[in-house]
């Protein structure tokens, strides 16, 4: 036995189930990484999953407490140490725009309706706190405009200019992504996150960061040409 843990407190159990439910909406299988103080759920299906990847981190204190015993044996595939490099925490990409997400409930409703109309959605945002969600087909085009969202301040770690600095505040960075991936991510959010933001690398990738009290979830959706 290499690892054993017990969750007993009902609140902790519920918390853990909610996290699992959120992740279950995004992937059927994932990698579980266990360290002394954290638990990580990782999905990095480069091609098979349309390239989306996810990184979810839980700190241990939120899971520990003390008492009921239910045993489930779940088959796992152990990943050999030599492959561990494939599953490192993703770095924050050199994004063009970082912006706080709108109220998730509104974003969820809009994306769900847009999913009926198109397979792809364009997310665009600028450094003036404006975000647009757009779909366009032969039949219909729909654009939802969000404003006053705010842009998170990112301190540059090494003092270098990131792509985001010195950028025209009104200029939009955009990415066209698979709408189902976005809908799945939003559908999984049962509780409002403490912080929700996304980083857009123009025409390359959208990086979502959702922070709850003890959990952080990062989801990367690549852009489609």
């Amino acid at each position: 036995m290499r690892f054993r843990a017990k969750i007993v407190d009902l609140a902790c159990l519920n918390h853990f189930s909610r996290i699992i439910n959120t992740i279950a909406k995004l992937a059927k299988t994932c990698i579980l990484r266990l360290t002394v103080c954290k638990l990580y759920f990782i999905l990095s299906d480069k091609v098979a999953n349309g390239g989306a990847s996810m990184w979810c981190e839980l700190s241990q204190p939120s899971l520990s407490s003390s008492s009921r015993i239910v045993t489930h044996d779940i088959p796992v595939g152990v990943i050999p140490r030599r492959m561990w490099n494939d599953f490192r925490e993703p770095g924050v990409p050199d994004f063009d725009v970082s912006i706080y997400l709108p109220v998730l409930k509104t974003m969820k409703s809009v994306v769900e309706r847009m999913k009926n109309l198109s397979n792809f959605i364009v997310i665009e945002a600028n450094l003036s706190g404006e975000m647009n969600l757009k779909i366009e087909t032969d039949l219909v085009s729909v654009t939802t405009h969000f404003k006053d969202l705010g842009n998170p301040p990112w301190a540059s770690e090494d003092g270098c200019q990131s792509s985001a600095q010195g950028r025209d505040l009104e200029s939009m960075a955009e990415a066209r992504i698979d709408i189902k991936k976005l809908q799945q991510l939003l559908a999984g959010q049962q509780v409002n996150p403490t912080k929700a933001l996304c980083n857009i690398v123009h025409k390359r990738i959208v990086h979502f960061i959702l922070l709850h009290e003890e959990v952080s979830l990062q989801y990367f959706i690549p852009a489609i040409a």
Binding site: T106, R113, N116, V140, V142
Partner: protein, 281 residues
């Protein structure tokens, strides 16, 4: 706000332009006739009529009169176009369908004329959605030629009396048979399904019967599959009028009260099913 998100000023020449404080006043009525993907919209000074047809046998019309809108203007005598009702409904309900108390979606609708798309501007909580839906050549619509002088039998019922009956219609029966008569059984709904025949009678002096004007005994059958969608209109309505003419054509008119207490109408017209013999009656 970017220019493209601004609705056009009222001075602009639009064949149809309308404003509605609560988009649900329109979307809930359109849902009551949404049994096909496409609908034909007709706008006149009196208001908007949205028509859906199927199989050249059934026609449903939703009427939203001009008074329901905060602003309603039609430049020509009438404006008509065909549009995807599914897409229109998805756009009208873009912010969701649940009605939180105090929140509603405001709508502005503009149509430049023949060949142009229908533009919708929807706003809720400071968020604006702009939709551009392509329109097509309007279909030729059926004319059931149903006027009051041709009506043979007419009853008006409170909808709650019919709701359960329609919700539980035996779908294994191909037809719904409607009998209307000045004598017993007065008003009878019958189905003939796998488990046997079922009859539901409404006496003329029932509390649910608001008006009873039957001059002749008539029994007509209608395809259940065609009438089933009318259940949506029945669910929204407070009263329904049921009329038949000499050929057995059926008119169902539903009186619907919206959230603000305003009255709107939805009607369904249906051809009788030809496949009945005298021996079966």
């Amino acid at each position: 706000m970017p220019f493209s998100a601004q609705p056009p000023a009222s001075g602009e020449r639009y064949a149809l332009s309308a404003s509605l404080d609560n988009a649900r006043h329109l979307s809930s009525l359109l849902r009551a006739v949404h049994f096909q993907d496409h609908a034909t919209c007709l706008a006149t000074a009196s208001g908007l009529r949205v028509t859906v047809e199927d199989a050249k046998c059934i026609q449903a019309n939703a009427f939203i009169q001009a008074e329901i809108f905060q602003e309603f203007s039609v430049q020509e005598e009438s404006v008509m176009f065909r549009i995807s009702l599914s897409v229109l409904l998805d756009c009208l309900t873009i912010f969701g369908t649940s009605s939180l108390p105090g929140t509603s979606t405001a709508l502005r609708m503009c149509y430049r004329g023949y060949g142009y798309p229908l533009m919708l501007f929807l706003e809720e909580g400071g968020v604006v959605t702009v939709c551009k839906i392509n329109t097509q050549e309007p279909d030729e619509l059926l004319d059931f030629d149903f006027c009051s002088t041709k009506v043979v039998n007419k009853i008006i019922l409170q909808s709650e009396g019919l709701r359960e009956a329609f919700a539980e219609l035996d779908m294994t029966s191909e037809v719904l048979q409607i009998t209307m008569s000045p004598d017993k059984p007065y008003f009878r709904l019958s189905t003939f399904g796998n488990a046997g025949s079922a009859h539901l009678d409404y006496p003329r002096d029932s509390d649910l019967m608001e008006a009873f004007h039957c001059n002749q005994t008539q029994t007509n059958r209608y395809k259940v599959s065609l009438l089933k969608p009318s259940t949506k209109a029945l669910a929204l309505s407070c009263k329904v009028s049921i009329r038949t003419d000499a050929q057995g054509f059926l008119s169902l008119q539903y009186m619907i009260r919206n959230e603000d207490g305003q009255i709107c109408f939805v009607e369904y017209y249906c051809c009788p099913d030809e496949n009945i013999t005298e021996a079966e009656l």
